[in-house]
């Protein structure tokens, strides 16, 4: 798989956190305890939209063990990463059933649990709005009348006086008007429901606000710097007063990006007399009161020429952001700007609105707008193929972006480059692995059918242009290296891959490259965030920059000792040696703390390498046109910027078995093909491909948040919100990675850990359509939804299957 030019890269290396994880000794924030630790619980709203008239704590305060109480009036702050719409407790209005309106701190969790039930809150109900289409109509109840006063990131465009948290529009060529010149136009509506991340460790935060004004925070966040900055900004505390430490984290999937409950717990610690306070969400609280994953409705039109070329495409997404959309606005914006996917479209119009409704708030999610966008696009391609009578592979091949094609998603005029990956190769490999040309063997039960489907995806990090990263490496006395990076480790394997880059670079054995298990702003240098499949690329680039910095210093010392020019030296096998004369060498261990000459004089000093990465090619997109703003003439001759630092191409093909009588869909075989540029660690890369496939199957087949009449979450648990179990996962998963090196990637690598759950979703629906002709455009594809679709579109299939069943039973 990987080239033999490397010693470490391409080897299946288990991550070093394995012993702690299999023995149960790995510590998560959920597990942490401190002397005198207090516990907090939240009182949540039972009203979907209401003024808070009064909050009476008198009975709650009688509970032995209760230390402090708080309401939103105690902490009237607004926060958020893109649209600063969140409060930390409802300030004067409750915005959904589940909105935290008050907090209790007690010296034990049982006392806090008892006390929250005794808090009496009096509400003055306001009319609620639950439907996003109603919410954006004139006259709808307004959730955020002060929207204009919130802190807004420059790439976003909320519409004050409405429930529109963000409005994004992209026009390419003649836009929607060009549909008129198409031979065939298809038009379909799509839906995705609210879902949830279902990371196993719920949001857990401990904060200690100290009498000195310093705040120490332990939190189950994806990475430490974003919550530190956002906490500092929202509370008006200097950033350097806050230390954020992150131990092991029990999953994230985007749901622990941005900010969790850090500001609230910090302020509760202060209110409780500067004592450490812990707040852990129960599963129900997590799903009812903390941000989950936005759903949408979409309307799409695609116009083709007779021969299957896309003439024009339009799509309108209406995302339901719930009561706060601080991070979800960018999920929706990304679905908008990435609307054309892997296809060359001369004309396109894409609109993406994020609406506020009186429901649970929403945030980032693995895939970040791309699973949402591809659900429409990759279904439209297969529906188009059916209408035009050509194959799903052919319609895609005809329309793929080719080298030099401008994309709507990399900014106007930014052509595709050859080193971005082998897009046709990805689909071809996926098709070969599923044996596309071979008819599936039909099951012995005549009421079941098997069929194959395919989809193609692209994904890049949706990061702002100022998403910068640093890395530091420190040599130890024994010429081992400590790697200091602040990117988070919640199972993706990235930090292990980063360790492998350093080992490869200096030709060190892996056990001489050390990682710290506790990630902290105190010792790890800045990283914007661990999100978007970006860290291997961006932090990896910073880390190689740090390696080069350290190497320069090492060679400088060695050149003084060996009396040759630095460029004549190389590092291998724990030594610096003269190229071509390997017997002329010094052990690294004699250099890394400074070289001591025979007379005792020292030259050099400790070797510490520092490096950075900043995405100079990125610029903001104009929210009205979707065009990237020109890059400064100094760096890019005024040409348009890019919207992402890389794209990774992928394809999933499936063979499914569909029971026509129950609507049950089983995935029997699946492929996962990605062009990774360079496979750093095939063991963990394969793990991402398999894990993401099954997570995507959850979104495709099972997962849906159900709302009751009050807009509250009706299924906040794993009994009625079903995520895939071992028995649901396919055994036959065919993973293959292509390696078209990215010119500017570390050793040629790109990231991909979100792309893995994008194509699987439309691939399943495409297989249903190929097997039955039945079109599914709503998720999830539950037994009932699939059965109803067959009943409506192909009742003959059900009749035939019923007959076959009767004959079978004989």
């Amino acid at each position: 798989m990987s080239s033999s030019q490397f010693k470490i890269i391409g080897r299946p290396v288990p991550p070093p956190d394995l012993y702690e994880k299999v023995t149960g000794t790995a510590q998560y924030t959920f597990d942490m305890d401190f002397p005198g630790l207090l516990h907090a619980k939240l009182v949540t709203s039972r009203e979907p939209h209401a003024k808070i008239k009064s909050i009476d704590f008198s009975k709650a305060l009688q509970v032995p063990g209760v230390v402090a109480v708080a309401t939103g009036k105690d902490f009237p702050y607004r926060l958020g990463i893109y649209v600063g719409d969140r409060d930390i407790l409802a300030i004067d209005k409750a915005l959904w059933v589940g909105h935290p309106v008050a907090a209790i701190v007690a010296d034990n969790i049982r006392a806090a649990e008892k006390a929250i039930d005794l808090v009496e809150v009096e509400y003055d109900p306001l009319p609620p709005v639950f439907d996003p289409e109603e919410a954006v109509k004139p006259g709808a109840p307004i959730l955020h009348p002060d929207l204009a006063k919130y802190t807004i990131s420059p790439a976003f465009k909320p519409v004050p006086g409405t429930n529109i948290a963000n409005l994004f529009r992209l026009t390419k060529g003649k836009g929607e008007a060009a549909l008129d010149s198409a031979d065939v136009v298809i038009e379909r509506n799509f839906r995705i429901p609210f879902t949830t991340h279902a990371y196993m460790e719920t949001w857990s935060t401990i904060a200690h606000y100290k009498v000195t004004g310093d705040i120490e925070i332990w939190t189950s966040s994806q990475s430490p710097y974003a919550p530190r900055y956002l906490t500092a900004m929202s509370l008006g505390i200097p950033v350097g007063k806050i230390k954020i430490r992150i131990p092991y984290v029990g999953g994230g999937f985007g749901g622990k990006a941005g900010i969790l409950n850090e500001p609230l717990v910090a302020m509760l610690s202060k209110k409780a007399g500067y004592k450490p306070v812990k707040l852990v969400m129960t599963r129900a609280e997590q799903m009812k009161s903390m941000p989950i994953v936005a759903g949408y409705r979409a309307k799409a039109k695609m116009g083709f020429s007779k021969d299957g070329r896309i003439v024009a495409y339009s799509v309108r997404f209406l995302f339901d952001g719930g009561a706060f959309a601080d991070y979800a606005v960018n999920v929706a914006r990304t679905a908008g700007y990435a609307c054309t996917g892997v296809y060359d479209m001369p004309n396109a119009y894409c609109e993406s609105i994020t609406a506020y409704t009186n429901k649970v708030p929403t945030t980032a999610i693995r895939g970040f707008g791309y699973p949402e966008n591809h659900w429409v696009l990759e279904r439209m391609m297969d529906i188009g193929a059916k209408e035009l009578g050509i194959s799903p592979l052919e319609i895609r091949s005809k329309n793929f972006l080719r080298m030099g094609d401008p994309t709507s998603t990399t900014g106007y005029g930014t052509p595709m480059r050859a080193d971005q990956g082998d897009l046709p190769g990805v689909m071809k490999t996926s098709a070969e692995l599923i044996e596309w040309d071979k008819e599936p063997e039909q099951p012995k039960e005549p009421w079941k059918i098997r069929a194959k489907g395919i989809a193609v995806s692209l994904k890049g990090p949706s990061q702002p242009p100022n998403a910068v990263d640093a890395a530091v490496i420190k040599f130890n006395e024994d010429a081992s290296v400590d790697v200091l990076v602040a990117t988070g480790n919640y199972g993706q394997g990235t930090v292990n891959a980063l360790r492998m880059l350093v080992a490869e670079y200096f030709d060190l054995p892996l056990d001489k490259v050390h990682l710290t298990w506790m990630n902290s702003t105190e010792w790890n240098p800045y990283t914007w965030q661990t999100v978007g499949s970006r860290s291997l690329f961006t932090v990896g680039s910073a880390l190689l920059d740090a390696c080069e910095d350290a190497k320069r210093q090492i060679l400088d010392v060695a050149s003084k000792v060996l009396k040759v020019k630095p460029e004549e030296l190389a590092i291998a096998d724990g030594k610096v040696y003269v190229k071509g004369e390997p017997w002329m060498s010094i052990p690294l261990s004699e250099i890394v703390m400074g070289y001591t000459f025979p007379n005792g004089q020292v030259y050099g000093g400790p070797i510490i390498g520092k490096g950075k990465h900043y995405p100079a090619v990125l610029s903001y997109l104009d929210p009205d046109t979707g065009q990237a703003l020109p890059i400064n003439a100094e760096t890019g001759h005024g040409e348009p910027g890019h919207v992402t630092v890389f794209y990774t191409f992928g394809s999933t093909a499936v063979e499914i078995e569909l029971d026509l009588l129950t609507g049950e869909v089983k995935v029997l075989k699946a492929t996962q093909v990605y062009d990774l540029g360079r496979v750093i660690n095939p063991l963990t890369a394969t793990g991402q491909a398999i894990g993401g496939l099954v997570m995507g199957m959850g979104r495709a087949l099972y997962e849906e948040i159900v709302f009751d009449d009050t807009g509250g979450v009706a299924n906040p648990n794993f009994s009625f919100y079903y995520i895939p179990r071992a028995k649901d996962a396919p055994d036959d998963i065919r993973v293959k990675f292509l390696e078209t090196p990215q010119a500017n990637g570390p050793f040629g690598a790109r990231g991909f850990s979100e792309n893995v759950m994008i194509a699987i979703i439309p691939a399943i629906a495409n297989a249903i359509q190929r097997g039955t002709g039945v079109e599914i455009t709503e998720l999830p594809m539950t037994h009932e939804r699939v059965w109803r679709a067959i009943k409506e579109q192909r009742p003959d299939l059900i009749e035939k299957a019923m007959k076959a069943l009767k004959e079978w039973k004989g």
Partner: protein, 156 residues
Amino acid sequence: MTRTITFKLNGRPRVVEVEDNETLLEVLRNKLGELSVKAACYKGECGLCTVLFNGRPVKSCMVLAVEADGGDVVTAAGIASNGELVPVQKSFIEHGAFQCGFCTPAFVVASHYFLQKNPNPTREEVKEFLSGILCRCTGYKQIVDAILDAAKYYRK
């Protein structure tokens, strides 16, 4: 009401005062510091608090602590002896059968029990047995592979 119970935890006798309505999970984590036992729901849905109770796997959130009086509890932290990992632990490492690791102790303790009872399992039997424990990261395949691969050591 509170009462004092005595039980063996990972081979050592423990004495602890518990409330009548406290679960074994709560006592293990909050009173005995047995943090290898995780929890993601506290209501018998996720399986992350699985321990061996009197030799059988149970969800410790579904057992009242008072029921453990006189019993024997083994957790993931208690199956390795003198730092020597049991075969299924080693196999999880080799197969990369975990990512965030939060569910791993439950899978390890349950599969160690399972392979002792059934050292010749089919793939379907492993999957059926594991379906009471949730994992969001791995997609289960590498966990099932790890268990099937480790089975040979349990046949000896």
